[in-house]
Subunit: 185 residues, 2 copies
């Protein structure tokens, strides 16, 4: 028996993931998601611009977090360490969404248009990080290089984190990827 | 007096750049480009899928070059150095297209949809480089980290190269950006 859930947005996200998994992203409509979540299509479109947005719901929050945490990192941190603090904080937003993140990654990997959207999201995160480093007084090309490097670390750490059912903490995945980056000769 | 040019493709590229610069990308049609280049619209579409493709003409050649040169780099090179050899060779394809590259960058920077396409092209270059490193026997996460780092260096070196009328050689821009990357703490 389904228990009553006031969280319509969460219900729509869960319904969408199930449908994308079962039928495929292309074969699922916004109407299907609304129906499965027990809401009207109108409610769906009050929350999301389209079905794709269900998967990119947290992107803006992550961008803002990366920016704000990078700007506020201790002054003595190097540009790369400040940016890594930012991306670690963004990753921590996902801490209690591991199962969601695993399923979402699988769905994105199966759809070229979602992969493109994911790349653009990472590019936006790089831009936020570069901007934050500029606000810390870091000049070019160091700001861009450190921001790209930190987002690359995020990308690699995230891939590791969603590859296992019981992964290390996200911050540990970041530390591991950052160490490998620093070891490049 | 215009001299006779057998190179229809080159004429279309030059005509497109002039029109994109003068009128803006959105205000230029494939028909305008064909007319200015003295070819039929049909000829235009035999060479390019759409007007956007005029600006991304060399992308596949660059991806293949990065891949092949990275694979063939001396065995003793580190993964990062092998990838840097690949992106340097890709950059050298642009050596005699500096003025074109400057104008093209300005046009891309003014158009969000072209910027997205450019990001996807860089992502494809990262993918080619990662694949080439795998073929050299480099494992994850080092292959991804080295490939992303090399493409970041390409991106930063390219930005520097197109920022000046008389820039250093592309390979020197790469060396400079790679040194700054290695100096990140």
């Amino acid at each position: 028996m389904a228990r009553w859930e006031p969280d319509a947005q969460g219900r729509m996200i869960r319904a969408a993931l199930e449908l994308f998994d079962e039928r495929g992203f292309d074969q699922t409509t916004a109407g299907d998601i609304a129906e499965k979540a027990g809401v009207t299509e109108r409610t769906f479109f009050r929350h999301f611009a389209d079905k794709r947005e269900v998967l990119f719901d947290g992107a803006h929050t992550m961008e803002h977090t990366v920016h704000d945490v990078t700007v506020a990192a201790p002054a003595e941190l190097s540009p790369l360490d400040a940016a890594l603090a930012g991306i670690t904080a963004a990753g921590e937003l996902l801490a209690d969404r591991h199962e969601f993140s695993m399923r979402r990654s699988r769905i994105v990997a199966a759809n070229p248009s979602l992969q493109e959207r994911e790349l653009l999201k990472l590019a936006a995160m790089t831009e936020s990080t570069t901007k934050a480093l500029h606000e810390r007084g870091v000049t070019e090309p160091v700001a861009s290089l450190a921001a790209h490097s930190a987002v690359t670390v995020f990308h690699v750490a995230f891939a590791r984190w969603v590859a296992e059912e019981e992964p290390p903490a996200f911050a540990d995945c970041v530390a591991e990827a950052a160490a490998a980056l620093r070891a490049l000769q």
